[in-house]
């Protein structure tokens, strides 16, 4: 818009004073839209970032068999069954590798939260990490990679249960956790203290996500610990995590389940929900994220459309009301682009008013949502971004009516209808 356009600001304001209510309505509408859309888009962005994080594993080829134990078993029997089950699973055609754990990536819960200190006397708040029970096959099964150190040895895997007191002496951690425990230093072969006692870090993983999908553990999603144990848990059973050879999952799943049943009948595998692929787990774990993103996204689009429609409607009305005045201006020498500029500038002023009011509303709404829905504080650039969107939207919406106004012939000034 040229300087000539801006000189019209005075007359525009004078004209708007004659349409106080209509102007106020557009201002209000733009303000409310800005408040809702900036918060909604912020929610969408956080959710999309959250749900598109990689788990770090070979997701496409991994499935999980949720196995519960039959009645009348004891810890020793369950441990023997688990060893035999794992041997049987690893022998199934199409199975690349398998291990047993209490939780699995993308599951949505159940991981064991553990506290980690870097010295035995540390009095400051310990770091938090999420543990997976693992054995020497875990890294191969998950398709994750060591960036330093070594894998567990078979003789380092212990039995964990309500009757066992042995604790591990070695663990493997992710690079993220290693960096938080020993910022800027090498974590390999360092000793850290779990609640049960000291352990040595023998390996550092490239990356591995914890099992939680919710928002409360977001800051430690990548702070994962592999703990060398087989958990013989009578009440909750175990998860057999199985990696199939690429492309063979459909055939491998029934074969793996059949192998377990052939091995022993003292178990429960739910025929409907007993087997979960990580792909399904991802869909399930992030269902809420996806639905909130979808809901907020569609509401934002609808709102922007509604606001645009409202601006089109009202500006058309104003244009039709002012045909005579426009004709007079044209007859007195105003060019078409002056008229066009007039309406664009008018819209810009009104939308700006809405944006000023809306920015206040947007931050107020953000503060309200902060408490109720565990939402983070909106970064400063969200509202300006939404404001630019609304300015553009307003200009596009008013373009049609403004061009019709600009097309008004000077003769309209004297035409009687």
């Amino acid at each position: 818009m040229t300087k000539r356009t801006w000189l019209q600001t005075g007359p525009i304001l004078a004209a708007l004073r004659r349409h106080r209510m209509a102007t106020l309505l557009v201002v209000l509408q733009v303000a409310l839209t800005l408040a809702v859309v900036s918060n909604a888009l912020f929610i969408v962005a956080t959710r999309v970032v959250h749900l598109s994080r990689p788990s770090g594993t070979d997701e496409a080829n991994i499935f999980v068999i949720a196995n519960q134990w039959g009645s009348g078993l004891d810890v020793h029997r369950v441990d023997a069954l688990m060893r035999a089950d794992l041997a049987a699973l690893r022998g199934v055609v199409g199975v690349h590798d398998a291990f047993a754990s209490e939780a699995y990536p993308l599951e949505g819960g159940w991981g064991v939260l553990t506290q980690i200190k870097t010295t035995s006397e540390q009095t400051t708040k310990p770091r938090l990490g999420i543990m997976y029970f693992a054995d020497d096959h875990a890294i191969d099964t998950l398709g994750i990679h060591l960036v330093a150190g070594r894998n567990f040895r078979a003789d380092e895997i212990l039995r964990s249960s309500s009757v066992d007191t042995a604790v591990a002496s070695v663990i493997i951690v992710t690079r993220s956790l290693a960096g938080k425990l020993f910022p800027g230093a090498n974590a390999l072969d360092r000793t850290v203290w779990l609640p049960d006692g000291p352990v040595r870090i023998i390996g550092v993983l490239d990356s591995l996500q914890g099992p939680y999908a919710g928002s409360t553990t977001r800051s430690i999603d990548e702070d994962t610990v592999l703990y060398p144990a087989r958990a013989a848990d009578l009440a909750f059973g175990t998860n057999y995590i199985v990696r199939a050879t690429p492309g063979g999952m459909d055939k491998t799943i029934p074969a793996a389940v059949a192998a377990l049943w052939a091995q022993s009948r003292q178990r429960l595998i739910d025929p409907d929900k007993g087997v979960v692929t990580l792909k399904q787990a991802r869909e399930r774990g992030y269902a809420t994220d996806r639905s909130v993103a979808l809901m907020m996204g569609s509401v934002s689009v609808l709102l922007l459309l509604a606001t645009a429609a409202g601006i089109v409607g009202l500006s058309s009305f104003w244009v039709s009301q002012r045909r005579r005045q426009i004709g007079v201006r044209r007859a007195l020498g105003a060019r078409r682009q002056d008229i066009l500029g007039y309406f664009l500038a008018e819209n810009f002023l009104i939308v700006t008013g809405g944006i000023v009011l809306g920015a206040l509303l947007a931050y107020a709404a953000n503060l309200g949502l902060l408490k109720a829905f565990e939402l983070a504080l909106m970064p400063w650039y969200v509202v300006p971004l939404a404001a630019v969107l609304l300015w553009l939207l307003g200009q596009v919406a008013v373009l049609g009516p403004a061009r019709r106004a600009a097309a008004t012939a000077p003769v309209e000034a004297i035409r009687q209808r």
Binding site: V26, S71, R265, F317
Partner: protein, 440 residues
């Protein structure tokens, strides 16, 4: 006269097609968004037992003490000692103790694979208090309750699955390796949300279980609840010895009582206080009696059963409708003021202000009706697509019914009428003479 206004309204729709269509679409979409959000909200906020819920209460007794409770609130469940004490002292007050259990069912013939069966260990008042109907057989006796007999009541769903829907009273079921005799089969029973053991399960949006057995039998079999927590800071439901667990101050049994009226409630509250006082005098509680007696719906609210996503969607939908209404006010204003000439002429020909109010009021209602029709269609579509946005277990219960349709009409017409108030007032202010003098 009303017919004339309607005619005028229809004529004006033709006159400003785009504006009218815009208003109808805005109202339709705004109202439909609200109704879809509400259809989900009412599922999560539903009263599980209409007509009966006002008489059902959850008693709580604080056995943790002020330093271990959460902000002074007694635990949600009872310890075995307190649960049994309330049960033995129940007198004529219907009292249910319960906890959710999971059993392994192994078919006797050894053919089928063992499967897991979920349900609750309950005392016999459970069925009468919560209106669970018996299709076959009946509830076990008082004596069976006391002795913990090996009896089981099963759901109609399980009866169909295991016994093909036959009369299965007296048949035997192998649960965790123990023989149980079927004494009853429930008819269709779907309390929603599943309120009775929500304090243990943590989620109320699941179907009821398939098996119900005497609570004392489950305890005799050392059957643990799915959840339970202890007053120690490190909650440890895995106290290895079941007997120690039963006699601990850990809480794991849910309790419900049925109280007829306010006097009954007051009496029971006194009883709870007296009980806690006795425990204090005996030295078990080192604190003043701290008890609660909470009605069913208040209990569901305190358990935060309603998912946050449903609340959020309701708020989003309402703000969307509000913005749509602001929009409609502007568009209505444009529609009405465009017809200043027409109004001026009508006024000059003798139409009173009241007549103008009636004319434009009629028009607003007509537009609102059109918005309601569109809104109903969109609501229907939205409910069919609701599973895309909400958890499937909840979405499955969202449906369109008469209250929802009436709600759509009332909301659409009401909102449009409200939005038309100011534009109508402006229209009625149009001066007859001034309008005739000018040409637009």
């Amino acid at each position: 006269m009303f017919g004339y206004y309607l005619g005028l309204a229809l004529r004006s729709f033709r006159g400003s097609r785009v504006l009218t269509a815009l208003i109808i679409v805005l109202m339709g979409v705004g109202v439909a968004t609200c109704m879809v959000a509400w259809s989900v909200f009412r599922v999560t906020a539903a009263d599980p037992l209409p007509g009966r819920s006002a008489t059902l209460f959850v008693p709580q007794v604080d056995n943790f003490g002020p330093t271990r409770t959460n902000q002074g609130e007694p635990p949600n469940l009872l310890s075995h000692a307190d649960a049994m004490a309330l049960w033995h002292a129940r007198g004529h007050t219907p009292t249910t103790l319960l906890y959710p259990v999971s059993f392994v069912h192994d078919p006797d013939d050894g053919t089928g694979q063992p499967s897991g069966l979920d349900g609750d260990a309950v005392t016999r008042d459970f069925f009468a208090m919560f209106g669970a109907p018996f299709a076959q057989g009946h509830v076990w006796s008082q004596a069976d309750d006391e002795d913990g007999a090996a009896l089981v009541v099963i759901s109609d769903r399980l009866n169909r699955r295991l016994f093909g829907g036959d009369n299965s009273i007296g048949r035997s079921m192998n649960l965790d390796g123990h023989a149980f005799r079927v004494v009853g089969v429930l008819g269709p029973w779907q309390p929603w949300p599943r309120f009775y053991d929500v304090a243990s399960t943590g989620t109320a949006f699941i179907a009821p279980g398939d098996i119900y057995l005497p609570l004392r039998k489950a305890i005799a079999l050392a059957k643990r609840s799915l959840t339970g927590y202890c007053s120690a800071v490190a909650a440890d439901p895995n106290i290895p010895d079941f007997n120690a667990w039963v006699h601990s101050e850990c809480v794991w049994i849910g309790a419900w009582v049925q109280l007829r009226d306010a006097a009954d409630v007051a009496r029971y509250r006194q009883f709870l206080v007296a009980y806690a006082t006795t425990q204090q005098q005996m030295g078990r509680f080192a604190w003043e009696p701290n008890i609660r007696l909470t009605g069913l719906n208040a209990w569901l609210a305190s358990q935060r059963v309603i998912p946050k996503a449903t609340n959020l969607s309701m708020m989003v939908a309402l703000s969307f409708l509000l913005i749509a209404m602001v929009n409609v006010v502007g568009l209505m204003l444009a529609r009405f003021m465009r017809r200043s000439t027409e109004i001026g002429v009508r006024r000059a020909l003798g139409a009173s202000r009241a007549a103008i109010y009636r004319q434009f009021g009629t028009e607003a209602v007509a537009i609102g009706m059109a918005g309601a029709l569109l809104g109903m269609g969109l609501t229907w579509l939205g409910i069919r697509g609701v599973h895309l946005v909400f958890e499937p277990t909840i979405a499955a219960w969202a449906h369109m019914d008469l209250p929802l349709m009436l709600g759509t009409v009332v909301l659409a017409v009401g909102a449009t009428f409200l939005a038309a108030l100011y534009p109508t007032w402006r229209a009625a202010q149009v001066q007859p003479a001034w309008q005739i003098k000018t040409d637009d």
